[in-house]
Symmetry: C2
Subunit: 376 residues, 2 copies
């Protein structure tokens, strides 16, 4: 195999590969990636296909390259990435020899690496799967951003370590994540959706994180296909395949409050700033904060500790009864951080039951946060 590829293209292809491959070194074969020449739309070999897997998630990328001799190689990903970052913008030549070496050259610089037998590396194949949906890449990005933060990060409950995707009537999909303390949900219309034999799936955190990072390579649209075991995300330059999380996602409908009658609307940026100010004093990771709603006003207070206390207040569109509730400010900030609108709505019922945060003029997204018992 011999190809010429732009340094910037190689760097960006390998950045996604590096992010996928196994870092544990427990399976040395997984420190490699596959590179092969493939034919583009005109039938000639003028594309390079990069692929890698950690057995859980696989990536396949296509980039333009000048193909001098068609072929395929398997080689250490990190070594190639480290050197290609140092090459300064020139075209890079990748040439394999019959003695199982690859020469990677740019100007007078040359790296020589041993090859691994292509057949030893686990191949990733995209398949025809029973269910599918298609949506704009920017919508997928939004669905990931708006839910992933609320999924569980530790392994105590594996079924919460991802985002639950299901269909809600017709072409409306529901993306849902929770860690038991808070929940985030987006309802997103898609161009076409089929959830016939599989009603819902749990997509792992890691896969969604990788897909999010490579989102620009999908082009305009992403086609998602799946069965009850695996899911494929196919775009113009990149495709991902991931195992799904086995197990049942809990029924979250009872947790999402329907009758929170205490509704306050506030400026989002002002609330974010106040939360950051009030939580700045706390040593705790989750930084508790007390919210007090009175007519036209929202007041925030930190704990009263021996090392000091902080308060802030702002205008609020609120006309209900006087009300106090405590939260982990981290959870509020996470939920507010993914909302784009100028004003947000806080919906509460009582200091013990879950509250809802959503955009003031958009029903597509909501976050539910369990209050914190406050004693000050």
């Amino acid at each position: 195999m011999e190809i010429l590829i732009q340094q910037e293209v190689l760097r960006s292809a390998l950045q996604n590969i590096i992010s996928i491959i196994d870092k544990s070194a427990s399976k040395p074969i997984l420190s490699n990636f596959l590179l092969r020449t493939v034919s583009g739309e005109d039938g000639d070999h003028n594309e390079a296909e990069f692929s890698a897997t950690d057995y859980e998630i696989s990536i396949i990328e296509h980039f333009p390259a000048e193909v001098i001799q068609a072929g395929s190689i398997c080689v250490n990903a990190k070594k190639v990435y480290d050197i290609c970052r140092e090459f300064q913008g020139n075209d890079i030549r990748i040439r394999s020899t019959e003695q199982h070496w690859v020469h990677i050259t740019s100007g007078a610089s040359e790296m020589r690496l041993p090859l691994v037998e292509v057949g030893l590396y686990p191949q990733t194949e995209l398949k025809q799967l029973s269910e599918s949906l298609t949506l704009p890449a920017q919508d997928l990005k939004q669905c990931i951003d708006m839910t992933l933060f609320a999924s569980q990060t530790n392994e105590s409950r594996k079924n919460l370590m991802g985002v639950n995707l299901s269909s809600k009537e017709g072409n409306l999909t529901r993306w849902l994540a929770t860690d038991g303390h808070r929940l985030a949900q987006v309802l997103k219309g898609v161009e076409s959706a089929s959830f016939e034999s599989v009603s819902d799936v749990i997509i792992p955190r890691k896969a969604l994180g990788e897909i999010r990072k490579a989102i620009e390579l999908f082009g305009e649209e992403v086609t998602i296909s799946f069965d009850d075991r695996v899911m494929q995300f196919v775009g113009s330059q990149v495709s991902f395949k991931t195992r799904l999380i086995e197990g049942k996602f809990p029924n979250c409908d009872p947790i999402i409050p329907k009758d929170n009658h205490l509704v306050a609307i506030v400026d989002r940026e002002r609330l974010v700033s106040a939360l950051r100010i009030v939580s700045s004093i706390s040593y705790e990771k989750l930084k508790p904060v007390k919210l007090t709603l009175t007519e036209g006003k929202l007041r925030l207070e930190s704990e009263k500790a021996e090392y000091g206390e902080v308060s802030d207040e702002m205008e609020a569109d609120y006309s209900g009864e006087d009300f106090q509730v405590g939260f982990n400010s981290r959870y509020l900030l996470d939920a507010l951080g993914v909302i784009q609108t100028e004003r947000v709505k806080l919906e509460c019922k009582n200091p013990m039951s879950p509250s809802v945060i959503r955009a003031a003029d958009d029903e597509e997204y909501l976050a539910v946060i369990m209050p914190l018992r406050i004693e000050w």
Copy 2:
């Protein structure tokens, strides 16, 4: 005390304070800083003086402030810094009460912190010291940048954990650092210098690092005064006082080669790029590299390892005998990183004796690097 101060001013004053104060928490008093109002040039109180110490190094900063009531306070530095970073560009009011609280407010946001008795905090006083020199702040910055990297970072030899400053005939000063494997030296002319009762001193790494970070606050010139125990750096808005390192700095003159007859001149950026390329493959921290000089050419090679090898070559202004020498590429990169000129000079004698790196057309600076024994 009550003052109004700009958010940006407070943030930048406290950033330097935070960097100084003791992080070990073993002496709680040192987590505080002193703030007092002082009179500016017109005699009125219209400046805020910030000071802090970790017993080794002290900082004193002066910034403009609107003084409503003169006075002084001592309060936790990190708490004030954390909240003032969150205030968005407004003026900040700092007001102490008789009940030993300080109120820090900006708009509707308010922080209340307990005060510490001012008298309990160790005061920093600048004194008249026997020796002194004056130099432009930009020259001081350069002397620090060009030597500090070569000083020792671990505590095995305390006398190497700083930069040795001495006087070489008249108003020429010598700044020198070494960790036993490499050495860096700048000769810098200063406006006036007195080294009468103290011939040389060792300035600690930490102090020079802090001074470097705050260099813009010194204004045009820095006046350095010292005796055999302490050193003061006085500028227009900031002053530092540091203990000096006790002990004798080794005599480095015999290590600096005088007769390295193999001289190659190469493009600095090209050499840096080649070193980064060739060292990219190595797993070792110091990344060994072999340099081969032949007429008109410099070739660099990594170790030949089972995981691959890298080489690069460039034009060199060299007409001596064919020559090979090994180095830790980290040391070469450190030395090249502080040279500003387009071309650099490499001076060698044999593969076992120290080599010199310097700017091609500047005798002010030199770095000496011990070669590495190479076996490939």
